[in-house]
């Protein structure tokens, strides 16, 4: 409803992300319509059946047999993805009451509402694997499951809200668009929904920075400062380099992941360069330059030691984010109990009426 359609973004290298989502959706429908040649009966040898479904690019559905490790990997990945959406509401929520105009405030509210929705889609997808949402929330609150490292960084200025939209949601989209083709059906379908909405977030962030970068010198400086602080943490969102990534090889074989961390990071850098130029802002990397032979940009890698520290809980806001989440959960307990008690009462009332009728 709000905001401009930034045409240049579509033309940028790696752009047209919405188009890729549409294509993934079409592929999903086609795979469902296509029958597998020489299909074995699922009862005969479940492992062979599973391998065949994966090979044929069909989707694994909740009731299909799957290797335990596949199930565990998916539970971990989808749950942590869901946690990230929920925790991710905090850094932006920080600016709702201080948004500079009513329009910006309304947009930010809608965006944070979307993030909550994404969390719920993803928890629902994780639940099809046989875990309950309550268990997953417990794992998060106990610190036994993680959320994206990026949300442990503070939002210090209004421009940070723009940088989160453009860079953080942009990185998330680059990561998530291939997941629209993931081998597990419920996850793939959730990602299609998420990506369609996420693209609104990325554009709203870009628009904020565009406005600031073309405003007063102070606004421009604020935008540049936000880019300076969010650039490397955004690059780190793609995870450790391929050599150090523990789950990658197996996830690629199972077609959960379609591209390696480094491939996605490169794709992200390549599309950001032109977008930054249009903003008139400078990416804080003196070694960033076009490599004619690779047909891609060379860039400085983020600090992976910092990434590991943040993941382990020693980032700037880890404690604050978890405390806030735990407090909301504990303080909300009586409301959940009231809703349950009311539902029980309503059910009992309905039953009495049925008996009386």
């Amino acid at each position: 409803m709000y905001g401009n359609d930034f045409a240049p973004q579509e033309d940028a290298p790696g752009g047209g992300l919405l188009g890729q989502v549409e294509a993934a959706e079409t592929a999903l429908r086609e795979a469902a319509a296509r029958s597998r040649a020489g299909a074995t009966l699922p009862g005969d040898d479940p492992a062979a059946y599973f391998a065949e479904v994966i090979d044929a690019d069909h989707k694994i559905e909740p009731r299909d047999w799957m290797p335990d490790a596949y199930r565990r990997t998916l539970v971990r990945q989808i749950a942590q993805h869901a946690h990230s959406e929920i925790i991710g509401m905090q850094p932006e929520g920080n600016w709702i009451s201080r948004a500079p105009s009513l329009k910006r405030k309304a947009i930010l509210l809608a965006k944070v509402q979307d993030e909550a929705g994404h969390g719920l889609y993803l928890y629902a997808a994780a639940e099809t694997l046989g875990v309950s949402r309550d268990e997953l929330v417990e794992l998060l609150l106990d610190g036994r499951q993680k959320y994206s490292s990026i949300f442990n960084y503070p939002t210090l200025t209004w421009a940070d809200v723009g940088a989160i939209g453009w860079l953080v949601d942009g990185a998330a989209i680059v990561n998530q668009v291939p997941l629209c083709r993931c081998s597990y059906g419920p996850y793939a379908r959730a990602m299609i929904r998420v990506c369609k909405e996420e693209s609104f977030h990325q554009r709203q962030g870009y628009e904020i920075l565009h406005t600031l970068a073309h405003g007063t010198p102070a606004q421009r400086a604020m935008a540049q400062d936000a880019l300076d602080r969010w650039w490397y943490p955004s690059l780190a969102m793609f995870g450790p380099p391929d050599g150090d990534s523990t789950h990658s090889a197996q996830s690629m074989a199972w077609k959960i992941k379609r591209f390696s961390n480094d491939e996605l990071r490169q794709r992200f850098v390549d599309m950001c360069v032109r977008q930054a130029e249009i903003l008139g802002l400078t990416i804080p990397d003196p070694d960033l330059r076009w490599n004619e032979t690779r047909q891609a940009y060379d860039f400085t890698q983020p600090d992976y030691d910092e990434l590991m520290r943040v993941i382990k809980g020693e980032g700037p806001c880890n404690r604050q984010r978890m405390e806030h989440r735990r407090r909301a959960h504990a303080d909300g307990a009586w409301v959940r109990e009231a809703a349950t008690a009311y539902a029980v009462k309503q059910r009992a009332g309905a039953q009495r009426e049925r008996v009386a009728a």
């Binding site: 699922p42 009862g43 009731r63 719920l120 629902a124 046989g130 309950s132 909405e197 349950t340 009311y342």
Partner: protein, 103 residues
């Protein structure tokens, strides 16, 4: 036939609901996802906020997930077999002589 999900849905405080949305008049309700809510009324309101934020629908059904019985993929072939061996149920089974129109 067995329950759709093997493990219990966690505490009964906020059971799982499956959500179906009809996008426009004349189309059918389509499954769009699921959510947790203590009762049907809240499930409906949450489904409205969650699944129809962008004019995706004009009608919502919510069903307790426990009320749904699903067919099992193991029995797929035997279960759906009758459709395959009665090809005469399809109009393409019948030969139409050349030159016959409007048939």
């Amino acid at each position: 036939m067995s329950e759709q999900r093997e493990t219990p849905q966690g505490p009964v405080t906020s059971p799982l609901w499956e959500v179906f949305v009809r996008p426009r008049r004349g189309l059918s309700h389509t499954h769009v996802g699921s959510l947790h809510a203590p009762d049907a009324e809240l499930a409906l309101r949450n489904a409205r906020d969650l699944y129809t934020r962008r004019q995706e629908g004009v009608s919502i059904w919510v069903v307790p997930a426990g009320a749904i019985t699903a067919s099992s993929p193991d029995e797929k072939d035997a279960f759906f077999d009758p459709a395959a061996d009665k090809v005469y149920r399809h109009p393409t089974f019948y030969e139409v002589p050349d030159g016959v129109a409007h048939l």
